[in-house]
Structure formats: C-alpha cells, structure tokens
Symmetry: none
Subunit: 429 residues, 2 copies
C-alpha cells in the first residue's frame, strides 16, 4: 500500500511525466523480469520527473508501435529499453519510427563506426549488424560505450506538446552507462532545474493501518513534501521527498516533517536515515559495548544469518546454536529436560531457558531464545502454527514475548526474527 500526501501536490512537484517501455519477449516469461526500470525511475525522479506508466511488451512490431504511440499520448518523456540489437527480433527502431510517422534511414557514420569496431576485433561484421546503423528521422545518436547498439535521442513535438523519446539498449550494463553519460546531461538541459531533498524512516512490528492512522494527520499538513508509505513484512518504510528552488529549503522541510513523525512514533522508529534493522541492532550493540548470542529453534539459524549478513557483525555477534531437537536444547543451551517434558519445547519457559542458557554458556551480554511452530504441520489447537515465543535475557531479567504470526513457514520465521531484532534494539537504544 502506498499513501501519498496529496495527488495534487505530487503534480506540482513533478510537472513532467514519463513512461517506461521495456521491450523483449523474455520479459513476458516466468523467468525474467525488467529491472532496468528501477534504475531509470530513480534517475528520472532525481530530475523531478514522475514515472506514471510502465509497459512490458514482446518483440512484435505492431504491439510495440502501439505501445509507443500510446505512451507519446500520455507522457512527456518516453524511455524505450531494449530491442536495439542486430537480430530480426530487434524491432524498436522501426516501431518507434512507425509510431512517430517518420522513416528510418541507414546512417553512414554509424555504419562506418560499426565496421571499424568489428575490424578492430579482427572479425568481419555479420550482415545483420548493419541494422544497428539505422537512425530514426530527427534522432540524435547516443553513443554506446559498452556495446554495438547505439541509443537514440528524439526531441520532437506531438500534437503541440514537446516530447522526449529515448531509445536505450536492454543490457543493464550498457543502459546504465549510456543513461548516465548521454541522457542525464541532455535531460538536465531540457528540463526545468529541480532541487530535491529526501529522507527514509523505518518502523518495525507495527501494522501499516496503525502507522497510517497516526501519521496521516501529520504528513497531510506538509503539502510540499511527498510522503510514501511502504509496507514490508514486519517493517514500514516512510519515504519523504521535497522539491524546492533552493536545496536547503527542501531539506529543511523534509527534516521538519521527519521530526514531527519521530515525535509521534517515538521509539517505534528504528531508522531515520534508511539503515536496515540488522545494521541498527549491530550499531546499538557496538556503541553499548554489548554482545549477543542466539539459541534458535523454529527460526533455524535465520536470526544468526540476518545478523551475520552485515560486514563487521563479529564485533557484537558471537554466535549461538540452532537447537532444532530437544536433545540440542539440552546440549547447547542447558534447558532442563524435565521442563521440556512438562511445558513442551514450544513454551514461554523453554524460550526463557534458551535465552538464559545460551547467554551463560557463551558469556555474552544478552542471549536470545526463540521457539515456536513455523508450520505447515506440527500445530495443535492449544499451540497453533504461528505461535512463537521470543525471549531476551540481559543478565538481570528475562523478557518473553508471545506472538501468533499468520502466514506460511517463511513468513512466520521472518516475523519471529524481526521481533527478536526489534527486542534487542529496544533494549539498547
């Protein structure tokens, strides 16, 4: 779900609208996905341009020409990515020309450059490749530093409106270099200057509806700041963005809104500059000179894996045990056997014993114990799938949190690890 401060407002910020068209039949299979558009969107946003549509179309000329014509009717800037190669399936040049009602002509300079490129590698150019020297009438060549397919830049007028049309190669490595070197300077020159300030705040383990209910009265009063709320599993992100004539003014407004949000949400906010929960937890542990060890049952190593995914985590994370069987709960975390028998492995008591046992065994500042039923099987009426106990022992007291997570095995395990990280954060923040 995404909430924006005001639709009208975002029209004021972004006066120019873009559409991205990704070309390639492989992008319509279950195996491949366009990812270039994320990069292009980021670049366009930084110039104050909003992306309003993305279209993915196969290697068929009529469909591609239709998509381009449609995009020219509803966007100021159209980026067509892919279909510039030398094969029969590469139809972007012809389709764009058709949509614009102009011709494609073989360009002598481009053709010579292609021959030269192949000659330098001592291979003769396949006949097909000469196609890559076809230039749409009115287009400017965008040199490709990393491949044979040149891009094209078309600055034209369609029905009294100025339109910018960019033809870019599909391989990300070629596209990114060309966009940065060739398109950004041209776009900066063509577009009104923009100064955009940004911040990202993050909140763990609160439902999106609650976050939105508490924050909507605040961010809606900042009409000049675009607020985007993104919900992930166990995490809400708030993206703030403001465009002004002067960058400092934009930054001040973003910071003002961030402060108001921080006042309202208090310690629910774990990150105020985009850091991940793992990074924040390790940061707090390190500045407090504290160490952590884990004894994981149902999460099976996920919490340890998340903490150690951050470089330098060994400064605060010492390790722990994956105590999947009862025997290992005894062996590595000294859980009393009679407790396992009386209370069951999934119980408040065993979670506490795991946290306590692992902390004592490895002499860490805190110990975390997690036990639960991740599913899909193993649930009972009394102890259903999704029931998880997460315990934190800091040497003075043991806190145990009981949660009933909904969802599949992956989701239950993820939420349990997220809850554990948030408990550590709250202990040391």
């Amino acid at each position: 779900m995404l909430s924006t401060g005001s639709a009208l407002n975002s029209l004021l910020i972004h006066t120019m609208l873009a559409e991205i068209i990704a070309v390639g039949s492989e992008l319509l299979t279950p195996f491949r996905q366009d990812t270039n558009s994320l990069f292009v969107t980021e670049q366009l946003n930084s110039l104050g341009v909003s992306v309003v549509f993305k279209t993915i179309v196969g290697d068929r000329k009529p469909q591609l020409a239709q998509a381009v014509a449609l995009a020219l009717g509803r966007a100021d800037i159209v980026c067509v990515m892919g279909g510039l190669g030398p094969t029969e399936d590469d139809l972007t040049r012809e389709a764009v020309a058709e949509a614009l009602g102009v011709r494609v002509r073989r360009n002598g300079d481009l053709l010579a450059a292609l021959y030269k490129r192949f000659a330098e590698r001592r291979i003769s150019m396949p006949a097909n490749n000469s196609k890559q020297a076809d230039l749409i009438d009115g287009a400017e060549i965008l040199p490709n530093a990393n491949g044979t397919a040149p891009g094209q830049w078309i600055d034209t007028v369609v029905g009294e409106h100025r339109k910018l049309l960019l033809l870019l190669p599909g391989p990300p490595f070629e596209l990114k270099a060309m966009f940065t070197a060739e398109c950004l300077p041209r776009l900066r020159e063509a577009l009104p200057p923009r100064h955009i300030a940004r911040r990202v705040l993050k909140i763990a383990m609160l439902p999106e509806s609650e976050v939105d209910a508490r924050l909507a009265p605040i961010y809606t009063r900042f009409n000049d700041v675009e607020t985007t709320i993104l919900a992930h599993a166990g995490e809400i992100q708030l993206h703030l963005q403001c465009a002004k004539a002067i960058l400092e003014v934009a930054q001040t407004r973003v910071n003002e809104l961030a402060s108001r949000i921080e006042e309202e949400m208090e310690d629910a906010i774990f990150s105020s500059h985009g850091e991940s929960l793992e990074e924040i937890v390790l940061y707090y542990l390190e500045i407090r000179g504290a160490t952590v060890a884990v004894a994981e049952s149902c999460t099976g190593g996920l919490l340890a894996q998340r903490l150690t995914s951050i470089g330098g985590s060994s400064r605060s994370f010492v390790g722990g045990a994956v105590v999947y069987t009862d025997a290992l709960k005894v062996e590595f975390a000294d859980v009393p056997e009679d407790m396992l028998e009386e209370k069951g492995a999934v119980s408040r008591e065993v979670a506490a014993a795991l946290a306590h046992g692992i902390r004592r065994r490895v002499q860490s500042t805190i110990g975390i114990g997690i036990t639960g039923i991740a599913g899909p099987t193993g649930g009972t009426e009394e102890k259903p799938v999704g029931l998880v106990y997460i315990a934190l022992d800091d040497g003075k007291e043991i806190n145990v949190c009981e949660r009933n997570f909904r969802g599949d095995r992956d989701r239950v395990r993820w939420f349990a690890s997220q809850q554990a990280l948030d408990m550590i954060r709250r202990k040391f923040m």
Copy 2:
C-alpha cells in the same frame, strides 16, 4: 541467458492471450517492483495461455480504467493485481467497473463476513474497510483465505469476444493462495484443454557456459521441445516444455530429452523434477536414515536456515552451532585451541575439526564445518576474501573442499552454503 527451441512452436502452443496489470503507485518508484506477474505468468503458461503485455499503473482511477479498457481490447484474459485494499488509494474495483461500463454495489454477505472477521479478532472494523465489500456487477466473489480483500472473477463479453477479468489482491501471499484455490479451477473449466508436458532439471556448481556447450548439441535436435536455460548463483535450471495433441506423446518427448541430458550431465544433475537443492538433500538424508548437524562460521547460520526452510526438515536436521568467534568454535565444536592459533580460524584443519566436533557432540550421522572469509574486509594476500573451506565428516572420513568464490559477502556466503549442500547430496545420492 535464455535460449528457446523455437518461437514458432510456442505460437502453436499458446492461442489464448493474457495481459497482466499491476496496480500501485509504489510499483512506479525505484523501491518496489511487481513480482506477482512472474507467478501468474507461470500459472497461465501452464494452461496454454501466453502473456502478451504487462502494464504497471499507479493508484489513479482514470489511468487505471484506461489501462483496463486497453487490455480488454487486446487480450482474452486480463489479470488486475492490487488496489483491492480499504484505503482511498485502492481504486481497482471502481476503475474496472468504469472500463466495463457497469456499476459497483456493496454486497451484504461480503460486508457481514468482514465484520465477522474483525469481530473474531476483537477489533472493531474501521469504516474504510466496508469498501472491500463492493462487488462489480456480474462479478463472482473469489474468497481470500489470507486477507480482508476478496478477489473478483468476471466472465463477460466485450465486442463479441469472451473476456475473463480477474481482480486479485496485491500481497503475494494472498494472491498466490487465491490464484491456486479459486482461479486455476475456473480457468481450467473456461479454457480449451491443453496438453503440455514439462520437466525442470537442475544442476549445481557448474558454470552456465559449460552446461550450454555440452547441452546445445542435444536440445537443438529436439525441435518440438522448448528448452529454456536459466542461470542462478551456483545453480543452472533447464526448463523443458512440449505441447502435443496427446499428453502422453508430449510427456514422452520431454522425458526423452531429459534422459539425453541426464546421460550427458550424469551426477551433476541434482534435481530431475524441479525440487530445490535443500529438498533433495533432505530427501536423500531421510531415505538413508541419516542425520546432519552443522558448525558454521562465515555462513553464520545460512546453511541451517536453508535446511530448516523446508517443512519436515526436523526428521534429518538436528541443529548445530553458529561458531562466529574462536571461543565458540572451542565451546560448541571442540576445535583445539592450539589448532586455531597455529592454523588460523580460516583453514582446512579448522573446517575439518568443526565438522568432526559437531558430529561427535550431537551424535549425528554427518557433520558439516564451514569457515572462510566472506568479506568485504578481513582478507589478506594469503587468505583473500572469498576463500572458504567446507568440510564433511561422515564418521569414516573427513572431506574438505577449498574454494575461492568471487563476488560480494552475500554471494560468497550463498555459494559456500550451496557447495555444502551439494557435498551432502553427493555423499548420499
């Protein structure tokens, strides 16, 4: 890289065309991407339906209605994903109704079900949520087992052509369950029967170029089987697909090609029916009545986490230790302290001692020890980032594998866990 046996052949297979529309302004930011369409495409392909367009559109009614109207004009099946939530931004119901020229009506049964759902959780329903009881005229309700947003199924006629319109919730967890339980049976009934045979073979720890060089001479001789080669980190997938008038004939052709590939690749193939490496490893362990325990240093729990991500893994996986510090290598896996001092924590000897120690401590059939330098820091000239030792002790002998993985921290850790899984597989296959 993607290689397809024959484009013409895939035209013969697919006669029904689909368009997928992903709704949500967040999908037009640099932060989020539609991934549902990959799942939906796979499901549609399995019914003989080709996806010809994907459109991503923001939470704005006119644009969404325009996209739906366009899709109805060029596809037989239109899947609209997202925008079924309770907020003002959730406009899919209204936009689809507008595109079809029909009305939306609040449905009493749906409303009652919503109230009941909230009541069961002892929370009162926010007024907004009643919006989720709005049903498009002519639509059938698709129950949502995992959320408050019901889907809608519309079987209608637009300009003499029968059209199927599916409204699905955006959260992948809700969408997948609804598509499988509600849409697949309806689509099977609505579509002409197709006889498509498929197989997925998987290969671990070989480079794509080697796999393709060895297999291209084989699969190119099977013109009626579409072969797609997908390269992931440490894993190559071969997707084989064949459509015939009679299913058995298609299945025979796919099996023939699969057999030829298996002959060529021998034991490099770990999966011949699409199973994951984790599943295969657990399967072999179980049929051999063997158990495994792990002692992980640089992978920090990743191997344990991957094994325990599979339901029922407790039958063969007993647990283990994340021995991030030297002290824990001693404490949980009995690595001799003088060995750590003399050879260093990242050494062939310590890997072997970890495998041996964890196996002895927990009395498992085999023990795995992993130690290495995941980076980005900690490398030296002698022991560079990416150097990993993976050891397997089966009680008779200890095998240690030394690898130099290239890439970032995530990639080094992933490859190390992949290598460990492949070693277990080769031991028990």
